[in-house]
């Protein structure tokens, strides 16, 4: 039961097609960026991302019909409430930055990561997909990170429940 493989779907080395739908698309070719706004839904394999505004930075030229899939995506910036869902795992926050180069994801603003009965809440989520670790931190103020778990019943060392 991998708490964060919800993000694996977006790691750059996955070969699944990325499909983005939105109400509107503005392309700013000189910045090599495509801005999707209004009910933006990004799906790749079993993972799915919903947000209000998504800015995709890519390398190489952009064409109107399939800008994201044919270019390598350098960076995704989601804003105005981000929800990432994959199987029974879910992560939400105000903003989300997916940096394909460093293979890391940073979500900020009331971040909540839940997976089955387990939930963790904090101010910032920092995920390192290569090291397969993720860290939830408070935003430096007096807040606390809070996690809620259903302990492993049965004898210790039993295979993890799914």
């Amino acid at each position: 039961q991998q708490a964060t493989n919800a993000f694996d779907g977006f790691s750059s080395n996955s070969d699944e097609p990325v499909n983005i739908e939105a109400d509107r698309l503005d392309v700013r070719d000189k910045d090599q960026a495509a801005v999707f706004t209004g009910n933006v839904v990004v799906t790749q394999g079993e993972s799915r991302l919903e947000t209000k505004a998504l800015t995709v930075f890519y390398t190489g030229g952009a064409t109107a019909d399939a800008p994201a899939s044919s270019r390598s995506i350098r960076r995704l910036e989601a804003d105005g409430g981000v929800v990432v869902i994959s199987k029974d795992q879910k992560a939400t926050g105000n903003t989300g930055v997916f940096d394909m180069a460093s293979n890391t994801i940073v979500m900020t603003g009331g971040v909540t990561v839940s997976q089955g009965p387990n939930v963790i809440r904090g101010d910032r989520l920092f995920v390192d997909l290569t090291k397969q670790t993720s860290r939830i931190e408070t935003g430096g103020n007096t807040g606390r990170v809070r996690g809620l778990f259903l302990p492993n019943k049965g004898t210790p060392g039993a295979p993890p429940r799914n």
Binding site: S114, P117, R146, F149
Partner: protein, 777 residues
């Protein structure tokens, strides 16, 4: 999601109060983790909470600098000033802790545990198995709090053991290879030792033995076994083995029911060496089998009515004192059965009495058996004729086998003892009969009316009236003793009394800087016919007549129903009350009583001599006064006087003071009663009773008490105590000398040592040193 997380975290007070007996885990309890930072590691499947992490789970709280939760193996590893607050209130401090995620299995490194009962364990390491048993390796147990400013100073006492096993299911703590240490110095080696878990209130088992050493009993040990049959039933069997008197067996049964509780206790012994006790009539030398039986019960019938009994049967007068059973200082063993009702403004009591006199001068046949004895008193709720109407009644019926005759004025040389029944003819001089042999029954009823009228200028007028009737059946046994007091033939007669009167009070008040002053002149006038049949019947319940400030304004100054005051009388007094702003109150009363007309009931005495030397025999009575001072809670003075009306000689003086300031609390009572030869008090009685306590330090205190007989210029009894008391240890050493008891001149010196280690048990050793007798104990 946030609301769900919040609901799961039990509020703080739930944790402390969730002291469930066993460890019935809540199967779907969730674990709440709080920290500055939470780190997930997916390969190792661990969640690390870093930065004063707190984990709440099923009533327990784990705090540490860092907690790693290994989800794959279900283990929790905490490191860095770890503090585990368990559901049952125990607090474990340690450097590192490794336990299962349901907090049931754990292995703790160098820990310190404080239990809910404020006792604490410390150990190099501890292993907890299936949530029940905690095994401490070379652990230390103590009920003393560790010293705050220098924690490794050894506490006053502790038990150090190779292994301490605390079983929370069985509620027991076991020690292997243990040593009891005082201030870190081992004083007792206990290979195997156990005691109930401190949180246990009732548990079967041996109670702490008591050691006995006395010249009459020899050496002995008394070992009680407590059997906790049920939460509301228990039985304590206590054998006592004594070197000189053999085995004594004692049993106490206690049973609590829904509406009340009762106890039965008994003790019996076949004395091996009865000659150790004084010969009769001062001791039980000639009795081998001795015993005592007592049962008490109290049951509530409803919110206002209850009934009960307190019955004592003894084989002889001295068994309780000789084997110091059930407390000391038994002058008499009064058995009674009662039914009592207390309503809003009425009171009813039906009871019977059986008296066992335990003093040397008591002769059992001279004490009456009283049954039935009925008292009823009711104040009418609604005003009658605009005033308060009170009805009260009494029915007394008693039987006495032998007359009780007492010599009065000096010059009677006959030494009193209880083997022969004296009559007045045995004495060469005057004699009284406080107890007439035979049967006596009286039924009385009394109706009183009073009304308080305040006129315009503030004078308080209280007209009152009363009427009363008695029916008396008198059947004195026709012995020579009785005949010298009253005719001994059976007789029934009635006696009546009626009266009317007025009480006048004019309270005046003034308030100034010094406080509030109230001055109150009081005058009371009563007109009644003469008292009839004085002395023709025994006086059983009105023998004591103590004329003082409390009887000055009583409509009937007699203390019981057997006598009734007659004739015209005026009672005059002045009362002054001063209430200072700081709260101090001073109350003074001074007054005198005047016999106006008719027969002065106090000038004619009855068989018991009531009224003689009372200060009321003359037309003008003695003066009576009281002077009370109450200065905040820690100083009070109550003094009362009766001064003779001709030369102001102090007939009766009582001065009582209570004082506490800072560390000293003391109370003192001085009393002096002038001779009352016609009542048998041939010389002045004067004494001082004092008890004091001085807290030398917060824990160490000194106690001293004494009763000094000024007339005999000797101490009647003294007791000195030195004690140490703190949260885990209680030691008191008391040295007491007791006055000679039961006529023999021997003074008893006793030394009591009471030692108690909280939660472990207490021991008390008492030795009585009879300095006057040859034996060393």
């Amino acid at each position: 999601v946030d609301a769900a997380a919040q609901a799961q975290q039990p509020p703080a007070n739930d944790l402390a109060s969730s002291l469930t007996a066993g460890r019935n885990d809540d199967p779907n309890a969730r674990m709440l983790v709080e920290a500055a930072e939470v780190l997930y590691d997916y390969d190792k499947e661990t969640v690390s909470a870093i930065g004063d992490a707190v984990i709440y789970y099923d009533g327990s709280v784990l705090q540490a600098d860092r907690v790693i939760y290994d989800q794959k193996n279900g283990r929790l590893r905490a490191t860095g000033n770890v503090r585990l607050l368990e559901r049952d209130g125990n607090v474990i401090h340690s450097e590192s802790l490794d336990m299962s995620d349901d907090f049931a299995q754990g292995f703790v490194q160098s820990l310190q545990v404080e239990t809910a009962a404020r006792t604490n364990f410390a150990a190099t390491s501890a292993q907890r198995k299936d949530g029940r048993i905690t095994v401490f390796e070379n652990g230390v147990y103590s009920a003393c709090a560790t010293c705050k400013d220098n924690p490794d100073r050894p506490p006053l006492w502790r038990v150090r053991a190779a292994r301490i096993i605390s079983d929370q299911q069985e509620k027991m703590v076991y020690y292997e290879d243990a040593r009891l240490e005082f201030f870190g110095v081992p004083i007792a080696y206990l290979p195997f030792f156990q005691h109930p878990d401190p949180t246990v209130k009732r548990k079967s088992g041996l109670l702490v033995p008591t050691y006995i050493a006395s010249s009459e009993l020899g050496f002995g040990v008394r070992v009680p076994y407590f059997w906790n049959i049920a939460p509301n039933k228990d039985l304590t069997i206590t054998p006592t083995v004594m070197s000189r008197q053999g085995l004594m067996l004692e049993g106490e049964w206690r049973h609590r029911l829904l509406n009340g509780a009762y106890t039965i206790r008994a003790a019996g012994v076949f004395q091996a060496d009865s000659d150790a006790f004084p010969a009769s009539p001062f001791g039980a030398a000639d009795e081998d089998a001795r015993g005592a039986f007592q049962t008490r019960g109290e049951f509530a019938i409803n919110q206002h009515w209850e009934w009960g009994w307190n019955i004592n049967l003894l084989s002889d007068k001295w068994v309780l004192d000789d084997y110091n059973l059930w407390g000391s200082g038994w002058n008499e063993a009064i058995s009674t059965i009662y039914l009592t009702g207390l309503e809003d403004r009425s009171y009813f009591d039906l009871r019977g009495y059986y008296f066992l006199g335990l003093s040397s001068d008591d002769r059992q046949k001279e004490l009456p058996v009283v049954f039935p004895l009925v008292d009823y008193n009711r104040v009418f709720d609604q005003p009658v004729l605009g005033g308060e109407m009170t009805f009260s009644a009494n029915f007394t019926s008693l039987r006495r086998l032998e007359g009780d005759f007492e010599p009065t004025s000096p010059g009677n040389t006959l030494a009193l003892n209880s083997t022969t029944n004296y009559t007045c003819n045995s004495f060469t001089v005057d004699c009284l009969a406080p107890g007439i042999a035979g049967n006596y029954t009286r039924a009385s009823a009394d109706l009183q009316w009073r009304k308080q009228i305040i006129d315009r200028i503030g004078q308080v007028w209280t007209p009152f009236a009363f009427v009363r009737g008695d029916m008396i059946w008198r059947d004195p046994s026709d012995t020579v003793g009785n005949a010298s007091f009253m005719s001994t033939d059976q007789e029934f007669y009635t006696r009546g009394m009626a009266g009317a009167g007025l009480e006048y009070r004019f309270p005046l008040v003034a308030a100034n800087a010094l406080g509030t002053h109230t001055v109150e002149p009081i005058a009371q006038f009563i007109a009644r016919p003469n008292e009839q049949h004085i002395g023709e019947a025994p006086n059983e319940d009105a023998q004591s007549l103590f004329f003082d400030d409390t009887t000055l304004f009583a409509w009937d100054k007699f203390s019981g129903w057997d006598r009734v005051e007659g004739g015209g009388r005026a009672n005059i007094g002045l009362q002054y009350t001063w209430q200072m702003p700081a709260g101090t109150m001073i109350n003074v009363l001074f007054g005198q009583s005047y016999h106006l007309f008719g027969l002065n009931s106090f000038a004619r005495s009855d068989a018991a001599g009531t009224g003689l030397d009372s200060g009321l025999e003359g037309d003008t009575s003695d003066y009576v006064a009281r002077f009370f001072v109450q200065a905040s809670p820690n100083f009070a003075l109550a003094s009362r006087f009766r001064l003779s009306e001709d030369d102001f000689n102090a007939e009766a003086t009582e001065i009582e003071g209570r004082f506490s300031r800072g560390r000293l609390t003391s109370s003192l009572m001085y009393a002096r009663y002038d001779e009352r030869p016609r009542l048998g008090f041939t010389d002045v009685r004067e004494g001082i009773l004092t008890s004091n306590r001085l807290n030398l330090t917060e824990n160490v205190y000194l106690r001293a008490g004494a009763l000094y007989d000024i007339e005999r210029d000797e101490f009647s009894n003294t007791s000195f105590g030195l004690g140490y008391l703190d949260e885990c240890f209680d030691l008191e050493v008391t040295y007491a000398t007791d006055y000679s008891r039961d006529g023999n001149k021997e003074r008893v010196h006793q030394m009591f040592v009471k030692l108690s280690l909280r939660t472990l048990g207490d021991a008390n050793i008492s030795t009585s040193i009879d300095t006057d007798s040859d034996s060393t104990f």
